[in-house]
């Protein structure tokens, strides 16, 4: 079936099987490999992207469900060579270790601030409950999100 999705501002159409997951569409058809596949069971959040402005787990959505929709991936955050304030905050606060969870963590964190611009530390921890960091680097991740919220 034909699926058209606007990814990072560019509308693309691809012929895909109905069972194609959004994350595979992003990685294998749109060739944007910044979005990682972690657990592949909607637990870890590594595959988090924005669909129509909201953070979602792209391993648990069919590309067909996103047909006609707008997706933002980690690659879509940089504007004119400038990193997104959340990316900068992660860099400045050492919010990553191995980096595998980072694209999903950053997308979830931006989604969180869109819904709650000035969260408390507890709200950040709760708001990121769907994203796992196997390095257990949560402390600096939370610090990064709070820093971004205060900019």
């Amino acid at each position: 079936m034909k699926v058209s999705i606007t990814i990072n501002g560019t509308t693309q159409s691809h012929d895909v099987e109905p069972r194609t997951l959004l994350v595979h569409y992003i990685r294998e058809h749109a060739h944007l490999t910044g979005t990682n596949i972690g657990c592949d069971t909607s637990s870890c959040g590594a595959c988090t992207v924005h669909l129509d402005g909201e953070a979602v787990k792209s391993c648990t959505i069919l590309a067909a469900q996103a047909d006609g929709g707008t997706v933002t991936t980690i690659e879509g955050l940089t504007k004119n060579g400038e990193m997104h304030p959340m990316q900068k905050a992660f860099m400045e606060n050492h919010g990553l270790q191995c980096g595998y969870c980072t694209p999903g963590m950053v997308m979830a964190a931006i989604g969180l601030l869109n819904e709650n611009p000035k969260p408390s530390e507890e709200e950040v921890r709760l708001g990121l409950e769907g994203n796992l960091c196997r390095c257990t680097g949560y402390h600096n991740i939370v610090k990064s999100v709070l820093a971004a919220a205060n900019k």
Binding site: P18, T20, V56, T60, I61
Partner: protein
């Protein structure tokens, strides 16, 4: 993991969805938010040959004050249940329970109707709507019918929905200021409850339902009976597992689940009685 191949059909209305599911029969499944079904399909625990996507049936996403109850469209997402001002006022237990489903990403996609139709005893909203005495409105080729939540759950992932019927609305009686509590015991924030309790109390009446204490969500009738005959909270809570047939799994033995149910029901009743 990639699901087994299937045909994908998109419905623009409930009528179209029901007609499509009628055409394809037992092997077809409705796809709402997909956050119960797609994980099962990826694990090949479910292999429908046709998916009827109802995710775009926009007129089934609403929360309305309907006099003595709140009417919720089946395709209302968990996040919208959680944040609904109408539910915050008239059924705060349900809005709060919705905030405990999965995580933010899951709540952006999963729907209340999908969760109820999936009939997972470990899910939060089937038990919560059961405690609240909700009625589910289902629509088939011959029109609509009401099913009381207490008559809906038939077995593990089995409900009273016929193969060609679709859940379209959830009617939740207004709580009229009743005290309430939602207790969810789990190891990690986003997990399903090892045991959960949804409870409310108002003067002499109460409703208590249990999450993950059997093959269906369980109405703890013995607790409500004890309360209405004047039992103390501690005595009533000792009947928490009377109506349940819990299973053991890697998280908890039958004995531990039974113990947890009693402790959590006591905590829930204490909080609901404040």
């Amino acid at each position: 993991m990639i699901p087994a191949a299937f045909d994908y059909k998109r419905a623009g209305s409930a009528e179209e969805a029901i007609s499509l599911i009628g055409q394809y029969g037992d092997e077809a499944k409705f796809l709402a938010g997909g956050h119960s079904l797609i994980p099962l399909m990826k694990l090949r625990l479910a292999q429908p040959t046709v998916l009827v996507d109802i995710g775009r049936v926009k007129d089934l996403s609403y929360v309305r004050d309907a006099g003595d109850h709140v009417a919720i469209g089946a395709l209302t997402r968990h996040m919208d249940v959680e944040k609904s001002p109408v539910l915050a006022q008239h059924a705060p237990l349900l809005a709060h329970a919705a905030s405990h489903v999965g995580d933010a990403q899951v709540r952006h996609r999963g729907t209340i109707g999908g969760s109820i139709a999936h009939a997972d005893p470990a899910s939060d909203l089937p038990a919560t709507t059961l405690a609240l005495g909700a009625t589910y409105v289902v629509q088939g080729p011959k029109g609509k019918r009401d099913i009381a939540a207490r008559d809906f759950y038939k077995g593990f992932l089995e409900s009273a929905l016929a193969a060609d019927e679709m859940l379209v609305e959830i009617k939740v009686p207004k709580m009229n200021g009743a005290g309430w509590s939602f207790q969810k015991f789990n190891r990690r924030a986003q997990d399903w409850a090892i045991v959960g309790v949804a409870a409310w109390r108002n003067n002499g009446t109460s409703g208590v339902a249990l999450v993950n204490m059997g093959s269906t969500p369980v109405l703890a009738s013995a607790v409500s009976s004890a309360l209405s005959s004047g039992a103390s909270i501690a005595d009533a809570a000792s009947h928490a597992a009377d109506d349940a047939e819990p299973q053991g799994d890697l998280n908890a033995s039958v004995e531990y689940r039974t113990h947890l149910a009693k402790v959590l029901v006591r905590r829930a009743l204490e909080e609901a009685s404040k």
